[in-house]
């Protein structure tokens, strides 16, 4: 017993010595990666943006959810204002505090949160249809949406029962997963959702401070990030996007930065320069287009900042 204790003491001393050695070293700098700022989208002829929340792109347009004005403001890919649609209200084509947006299958899908529905528009902003969002327990408040390439499956995050619900275009509930909780596969305020190239979806789990990746049936595939304030950790993750190499870009609206993770979930770096993260202001929804340009919504700055991910 005594020998055993002694052995244990030696092991602990070694561990502590190693730990002490490590702590005794100079704190590592924050790994950063520079990206080139290209332009800012701040509004246009229809007036400035007000508390925007999300952004989506297709081959022609950049669609920004201008939540404070309850509308969608559209720019071309060079940042020139094109048109806007929506406005506050509950009629078709109007919004009440919309949050998330995505473009898929030739359509623009908007999470019309306050009206408890997804609204579908053509790429010119023409209203096509409205889909009331329901889980098995009833009406839900949609936050964001991802859509399968064929447009037949709508993945909607909602923070009424903290789930991802999958709906058919006609509003039928196909399946749902999640629920309020701390465990993997559960959520506390699921927010942004984005579809990966391999048909999986990544869901920002805000108060659980992580991004969970699921296959299309809802099985957990990967967890990206953890809670905390160190590199690779998240405090208020809001937006998630994936580049063509499968890297995850995660915005943190409190720490005001964007962290990048490998497709395996391993932390890579923070967008910044020389160990200093770029000081975004309340970054929320983000998107990467096919030109590998990163769009970052900065809510309190009422703008969308655009960066080139590749030199």
């Amino acid at each position: 017993m005594h020998r055993h204790n002694k052995t244990m003491s030696r092991i602990l001393v070694i561990i502590l010595s190693l730990t002490t050695y490590s702590i005794g070293n100079t704190a590592p700098s924050i790994p950063t990666q520079h990206v080139k700022p290209l332009r800012e989208l701040v509004g246009g002829a229809a007036g400035p943006l007000s508390l925007p929340s999300d952004v989506a792109t297709d081959s022609r347009h950049v669609y920004v959810v201008d939540g404070g004005n309850h509308r969608i403001v559209t720019f071309d890919r060079n940042g020139k204002y094109r048109f806007q649609f929506g406005g506050q209200g509950n009629e078709h084509g109007h919004f009440e505090s919309p949050v998330g947006i995505t473009v898929a299958a030739g359509n623009v899908y908007v999470a019309d949160s306050g009206n408890h529905r997804i609204q579908v528009f053509d790429q010119n902003g023409g209203f096509k249809r409205s889909i009331v969002t329901r889980s098995k327990k009833g009406l839900i408040r949609p936050i964001d949406i991802a859509v399968s390439p064929d447009g037949k499956q709508l993945y909607v995050t909602e923070n009424t029962s903290h789930k991802v619900v999958v709906m058919a275009p006609d509003g039928r509930l196909l399946r749902e997963w999640g629920g309020n909780g701390f465990n993997t596969g559960q959520f506390r305020y699921p927010a942004s959702i984005t579809r990966l190239n391999d048909d999986r979806v990544a869901v920002v789990d805000v108060l659980n401070t992580r991004v969970q990746v699921f296959n299309s049936s809802g099985s957990l595939s990967l967890v990206v990030g953890d809670w905390g304030v160190l590199p690779g950790q998240l405090f208020r993750p809001k937006g998630v996007a994936v580049d063509h190499d499968g890297r995850f870009y995660v915005s943190d609206s409190y720490m005001n930065l964007i962290q990048v993770f490998a497709n395996s979930g391993q932390f890579l770096y923070v967008l910044g320069k020389s160990g200093k993260p770029y000081p975004f202001d309340t970054p929320a929804g983000i998107a990467v287009d096919d030109r590998q340009q990163l769009y970052v919504v900065e809510m309190l700055k009422n703008k969308v900042s655009v960066f080139a991910l590749q030199p």
Partner: protein
């Protein structure tokens, strides 16, 4: 170290190790996690994370537990940045708070001295930040309200569904009206709609609370963080809709003090603004001009200033305060009288006796009960100035100045106010209507003297009496509106000059009453038009005013109106005019080029002219205030004519005034009857009507202007004024033998639709008698063409188509046939000269075209023979009838081919006819006339042509016109009265031989065949 101590040391080391592992990270497929107190707290208290204390790691953000925010230095957990990290829509939707983040409860400020933050356990229940300022954490915390609370927002330090949190600090704002605050915990009368559209809330029991008006976050108005803007009383309106108005009209309709208008006359004084009164965005008066929802200094009405004795009212209504100390000051006149709130003047203040700022009775926020069915603005005054009112001594009677008509009727730029029915005042404009307040300013006794104290016993006169302008001898007030009436000055109707010693009903001479007052009393007149002079009895109300002077005993006795005048009191509709106040339309045809009639005053049965009455009165033709319509100059001692005489329309030679009503008579000027040389006494100025008519002091019926002639029928006497020997129309006499007049139509004659007249009268009657104008319309030469000018020539000779006939007697002789219906079968027979002898003429050398069918045989006037008014030269014959027939049926006459060899039955043979014959030969049946020596049908007499022939019907029993061509007759037609020869009178004596005798006499062919009878 003991074993226990070693184990404890090892345990500590192990815990540290596990902690470090946690810091390093958790694999993706980590085991199920449980809530971590450290982590949950760190959701907001991020600086509690130990990573910030470590030297071996570099946190992504700097350690800053007490950042300096806009509101000051405070804990990081309650910074705006921390709040937004969840309230950005992704977790909870509160973006609106940031969108209007300037409209929030103030932070970064130290509480004022009025704020008493409750102390609990020696600490502020609502903590301030490190700088002693209000910050988010003053009201919010995650540790206050139970998160399961359903009746209060979470994250509040105390429950605050009903404003408890607000009231905890702002106690002084919750004390109710008695302490100068807007009431809370009272239900609004109507659930306000803005609850659905703004952040306004009622408390759980639907009563007013702090959040009903204020919103701590996302307020629409930065000012006082109100749920809506209130610069134009919008917020107040939500509950007090009944007291909100966008303009004066709305305010008047709601019987409330105007709001949201820029005061024009009243002025919001600086002292009131200093006292807390507010103005709207454009300087307009708003609710908060008078009311202060908090911090009011008054005990009633949360007013910005105490309104004892109407001090608040008088602050702005400076001019109106002159009412104090005068006859309208109830403190002096009726101290015990109460308004509709039951308040005496002592309680409510001077103004309250008549006005209430809200919930009044009618226009002007009236505070007294209004009489029903009265023009609203006048009702305000009549609420006291009536028989049973407080001011019954100065009641307003029936015959007073009218109210309620458009001020614009008086002209433009009238310097007296008009009012809408709701009491909106219009200054110097054509808008609004005349009402009591147009002349009276109820707040000022003497227009020339302000702040004058007047005893309630003082009697007023034209220089005061609350008049807006003194109305002394110069009638200045009256003349302000009645400018057109000013032309009376210097005219015959200006009694100050023409009858200075006359008196009105108040025994005032013109010098006392003034020009206007000599004839009018603005209140309590004796009759219509506020008549001020004694009215004669039994006179039509529409004329009584004028006759009060223009009578044999009146001051205008030389111009007395007798009974032979143009009628008054009769409806204009009688002459086909549909009249409204602004437009007259005649339903009778009028000649081309005649202007539409000009509306003239008409009167109702009580003599009022503005009520839409239809009756004619003196004032229809006369404007007693203007001598001549063509001139504004007044003349006295000048005899009037058709261009003056106070007429409304001057006669410029076309009788314009007359034809304004009698448009259909205007065409007389295109006839001989309208010739200017027919004018009487050389009044060449007057138009054609004056040739025969004059409106007053006439000489006969139809306002006859000429000396009447002889005759039996009334109209005949008028026609013979001219159509007589030596008369103007001496060439147009009717002759010895004319159509009879003064007789009734025969029984078989139906209504001819021609005028008939009661015996001895010009009054028309369907059962009346024939007179000249039964057939003639003396105003229209050609009955077929109103616009014909053919009759105007002096030498124009008329015929059956013209000659002032009402209906043409030419062609088919319609005029004749109107009465002589049985004779209409002569048309289109051989006796219709247009069929048999179109070129034949009568004694007047008229062809049938000129004379008409009847006129070839009968002359209506100037006939050659009284018998049948024969129009042909009679021939020789044995009897009168035969002579007529032989006019044509004789050698060398137009019917020479229809001449019997022997025309006459032996005159010695007298036969029976009628009932006597029927008694002898019942089988004969038919009546065949025989004639006496005068040619008239008789019971017994000689046989003449008409015994067998009816010259007006080709075929016996015909009811329609003839065939229309000249045909050879036989025993079945030939104008015979019968077709059965056995029934002829011939057979009575001649039996079967009669037919041969007939042939002998009537057929040349037959006669030659039977020489026996030669």
């Amino acid at each position: 170290m003991t074993c226990y101590q070693r184990y404890r040391h090892l345990a500590h080391l192990f815990i540290c190790f596990i902690g470090l592992l946690l810091i390093v990270g958790t694999p993706a497929d980590a085991a199920p996690r449980l809530p971590s107190a450290k982590r949950e707290c760190a959701l907001c208290h991020i600086m509690w994370l130990t990573e910030f204390k470590r030297d071996d790691v570099t946190p992504l953000i700097a350690y800053d537990p007490k950042p300096v925010e806009k509101s000051g230095r405070q804990d990081v957990s309650s910074t705006e940045r921390m709040c937004l990290s969840c309230h950005d829509g992704f977790v909870l939707e509160s973006r609106f708070l940031w969108k209007q983040n300037q409209h929030t409860h103030p932070i970064g400020q130290k509480p004022s001295e009025h704020i008493q933050i409750p102390i609990v356990d020696g600490k502020n229940l609502f903590p301030l930040n490190d700088d002693g300022k209000v910050y988010c954490g003053t009201c919010h915390t995650a540790h206050g309200i139970d998160w399961s609370a359903k009746d209060s927002p979470i994250f509040m330090r105390v429950r605050s569904r009903d404003g408890e949190l607000c009231q905890a600090c702002h106690k002084e704002k919750t004390t109710g009206p008695a302490q100068g605050n807007h009431p809370i915990k009272e239900k609004p009368v109507v659930r306000p709609g803005f609850l659905e559209t703004t952040r306004a809330q009622l408390s759980n029991d639907n009563t007013v609370t702090c959040q009903s008006c204020h919103s701590a976050h996302g307020a629409a108005s930065k000012e006082k963080i109100l749920v809506t803007e209130n610069l134009d009383s919008q917020l107040c309106r939500n509950c007090h809709e009944d007291r909100h108005a966008s303009d004066l009209t709305q305010a008047a309709a709601k019987k409330t003090h105007p709001v949201n208008i820029v005061p024009r006359q009243a002025k919001i004084p600086e002292t009131l603004l200093t006292a807390g009164a507010k103005q709207g965005s454009k300087g307009q008066l708003i609710c908060q001009t008078c009311h202060s929802p908090h911090d009011s200094k008054t005990q009633h009405g949360i007013l910005v200033k105490d309104n004892k004795d109407s001090q608040l009212c008088r602050s702005c209504h400076n001019k109106q305060q002159q009412v104090a100390g005068g006859k309208h000051d109830m403190r002096l006149s009726n101290r015990q009288a109460v308004n509709i709130r039951g308040e005496t003047v002592d309680k409510g203040g001077t103004c309250s006796a008549c006005h209430l700022p809200h919930d009044g009775e009618g226009p002007k926020m009236w505070a007294r009960k209004l009489p029903p069915n009265t023009e609203p603005m006048a009702a305000v005054c009549l609420s006291c100035h009536s028989k049973k009112g407080l001011a019954s001594k100065h009641g307003v009677g029936e015959y007073s100045h009218p109210v309620g008509f458009a001020m614009g009727k008086a002209g433009e730029n009238i310097k007296l106010p008009g009012f809408s029915l709701d009491g909106v005042k219009f200054d110097n404009a054509a808008n609004g209507s005349v009402t009591c307040a147009s002349c009276h300013d109820a707040h000022q006794w003497d227009p020339n003297q302000t702040l004058q104290s007047v005893s309630s016993e003082t009697e007023g006169d034209a220089s005061n009496s609350f008049l807006r302008i003194r109305n002394n001898q110069d009638s200045k007030l009256c003349r302000t509106c009645h400018k057109q009436q000013l032309y009376i000055v210097g005219s015959e109707h200006d009694l100050t000059e023409t009858a200075p010693d006359s008196v009105n009903a108040l025994n005032q001479k013109p010098s006392q009453a003034g020009i206007c007052g000599s004839c009018h009393h603005v209140h309590n007149g004796l009759g219509p038009r506020m008549w001020a002079r004694k009215l004669p009895p039994g006179i039509e109300p529409a004329a009584a005013n004028c006759v009060s002077c223009h009578n044999p005993d009146g001051i205008a006795k030389e111009k007395a109106i007798d009974q032979h005048s143009h009628p008054v009191g009769v409806s204009i509709d009688n002459i086909g005019i549909k009249a409204t106040l602004d437009k007259w339309v005649s339903r009778f045809p009028a000649p081309l080029g005649l202007k539409a009639p000009q509306p003239l005053p008409l009167y109702d049965e009580r003599g009022h002219s503005l009520s839409g009455g239809q009756e004619i009165g003196c004032g229809t033709c006369h404007d007693p205030h203007r001598w001549s319509p063509d001139s504004t100059l007044a003349k006295t001692d000048v005899e009037g004519d058709a261009g003056s005489s106070f007429l409304r329309i001057a006669d410029h030679g076309n009788s314009e005034l007359c034809i304004n009503c009698h448009a259909d008579k205007s065409i007389v000027k295109h006839s001989k009857h309208g010739a200017k040389d027919l004018s009487i006494n050389g009044k060449s100025k007057a138009g054609p009507c004056s040739n025969c008519h004059q409106p007053h002091q006439t000489k006969g019926a139809f306002l006859w202007a000429r000396d009447t002639g002889s005759g039996e029928a009334p109209v005949e006497k008028l026609c013979t004024s001219c159509h007589r020997d030596g008369g103007t129309a001496k060439k147009k006499l009717t002759g010895d033998f004319s159509h009879p007049i003064g007789i009734e139509l025969a029984d078989h004659m139906k209504d001819p639709s021609l005028p008939l007249f009661k015996p001895g009268s010009i009054e028309r009657s369907k059962q009346g008698k024939i007179d000249c104008t039964t057939c003639h319309d003396p105003h229209q030469w050609d009955p077929a063409d109103m616009n014909s000018l053919a009759g105007s020539g002096k030498k124009v000779e008329g015929d059956a188509n013209t000659s002032f006939l009402r209906v043409s007697a030419g062609e088919n002789s319609e005029l004749c046939i109107r009465c002589h219906t049985r004779q209409q079968t002569v048309l289109k027979t051989d006796h219709d000269m247009s069929v048999s002898q179109p070129r034949a003429t009568n004694t007047k050398r008229q062809t049938v075209t000129e004379s008409g069918v009847c006129g070839q045989c009968h002359s209506i006037h100037n006939a050659s023979d009284s018998f049948r008014l024969w129009a042909q030269e009679t021939s020789r014959g044995q009897n009168r009838n035969e002579r007529l027939c032989l006019s044509c049926h004789s050698k060398n006459s137009i019917a020479a081919n229809k001449v019997p060899a022997a025309t006459s039955h032996p005159p010695d043979v007298h036969v029976w006819s009628g009932p006597s014959r029927e008694a002898l030969r019942p089988q004969a049946q038919a009546h065949l006339p025989v004639f006496d020596n005068n040619g008239e049908a008789s019971k017994t007499g000689i046989i003449s042509c008409p015994s067998c022939h009816d010259p007006h019907q080709w075929r016996a029993g015909a009811t329609a016109a003839g065939p229309g061509y000249n045909s050879e007759g036989d025993t079945q037609n030939s104008f015979l009265r019968l077709t059965d020869t056995r029934a002829f009178v011939c057979a009575d004596c001649h039996g079967l031989d009669s037919i041969y005798r007939y042939k002998y006499f009537h057929s040349q062919k037959s006669h030659q065949k039977h020489s026996l009878f030669r």
